[in-house]
Amino acid sequence: MKALRSLFAPLLLGALLPLHAATAHADLLADIKQRGEIVIATEARYAPFEMLENGKIVGYGKDILDEIMKELPGVTLKQLDVPFQGILPGLSSQRFDFVATSLTITQARTESFAFTVPFATASVAVLKRKGDERIASAGDLVGKVVGSQSGAPQIEVLKAYENEVLKPQHGAGVKEIKAFMDYNEAYAALASRRVDAVVQSLPNLAPLVKERADVFEIVQPPFGPATYYAWAGRKDADSASLVQFFSDGIARLNQSGKLAELQRKWFGFEMPVPADQVPAPAN
């Protein structure tokens, strides 16, 4: 490795400044303070949590991030907008210091990553085309084609619901689960009748039905277990203080009422979430 590095580094770095060298950190938070820059990955196609406006990342998550970054004076925020498929793998490969994009807390993810306390509920609801009378409740998903995002935890929630409720009570599951590369494609497919319904977390659906009330409609109430959105860092000892720092920041905003204020701003309603601990994942 060393030899490779000394061979390639001068060649490639001659003209281009490095973002930061991925050397062994003793403590990531201390290291960040020292280098004066933090690299955070966000997938800015997840309204209203994180989205782009005039080329800048904005949203509920960004407001929270800005509040917490006040505690790190002298550290510049380098926020990268990365496609979702690159977010967690990029965190593992040390490309970013931390991930500030809304991640559902799941069993599988807690095994590999360290989560902060949550800042929003991620409970899953059904989205349908406006006026589609075939679907009045989540139970009506029997025999339907349902869309979601590839690798998303919402698919797991749907599968669990299928096995625990649909099959025992109705004798059959959904017809097919279609996994799209991105939720926005799933919405497009619902609008163009390629799927009958989309399963997605309720807070994400709120702005969608507000903006396109002529096309979409939410089937209330959410189904499946209570799940939550949080941010994550690496699970190693180096990252522990950094994850704790963000987690404490979110908890403080939660207790001071700032979180509820931001929720009203971005979603139009409040959603109480635990401030004292990372809730145990439901699946």
Partner: protein, 216 residues
């Protein structure tokens, strides 16, 4: 059903994305031409091992998806201590990719030159460097121009993939706008039109240069 007026307020953003697309792809084309010359010299040179290395390089960069190359440059290089900012990583990956294609284009250009020319140039007393500069390069450039135009068009389109490494070019801008307005069809159609506009202009520019060089 479709409402294209929803796109109008966001046109400036799309144009910024287009500028970024052009910046990335044109830098890659220019740098790729330089590296492509080096590869062409390696491929046509007399050192067998250098020729072999260049051939593997060309085979790899032409044979594997650009997306993989981008991911390697952006996510795998940090593992050996090189961490490039997104824009530099995008340009580097596109340059490495385009150099393989341009190296091949140049090589076939050189091969088409009649062997007699070299002898004639030597008889006229031209040095090898003079022969290269005044006899071979002008001809090769002229004959590779159509292929170079096509390569430029391809790179402009392929640069849509650099959003994978956090660069906001036209395609990513259209996608993110679609995700906040929930009007994907409208934004994809307009992005397609902008690509068409740019590639048509590129094609025109190529034909114009071709006709200029022919009369010169």
């Amino acid at each position: 059903m479709f409402d294209f007026t929803a796109v109008i307020p966001h046109l400036p953003q799309l144009l910024v994305g287009l500028a970024s697309t052009l910046l990335v792809s044109l830098s890659a084309i220019a740098l790729g031409l330089v590296l492509g010359w080096a590869i062409c010299l390696g491929l046509t040179g007399h050192r067998a091992w250098l020729c072999r290395v260049c051939a593997v390089y060309v085979s790899f960069f032409r044979g594997t998806p650009l997306l993989v190359q981008l991911i390697l440059v952006f996510y795998a290089l940090p593992a050996v201590g090189i961490s490039l900012p997104p824009l530099a990583a995008a340009v580097l990956a596109l340059t490495l990719n385009s150099a393989a294609f341009q190296g091949e284009i140049l090589r076939s250009g050189f091969q088409m030159l009649p062997k007699g020319q070299l002898e004639a140039a030597r008889d006229l007393g031209l040095s090898p460097l003079q022969t290269l500069l005044h006899v071979q390069i002008p001809q090769v450039l002229r004959s590779m121009l159509p292929a170079l135009t096509n390569e430029t068009i391809d790179i402009i389109k392929n640069s849509a993939l650099v959003s994978a490494v956090a660069v906001h070019e036209l395609m990513r801008t259209a996608q993110t706008l679609a995700s906040t307005t929930y009007r994907p069809i409208e934004f994809f159609a307009v992005a397609g039109l902008l690509y068409l506009l740019v590639t048509l202009c590129t094609g025109r520019l190529g034909s114009w240069l071709e006709s200029r060089l022919r009369t010169a």
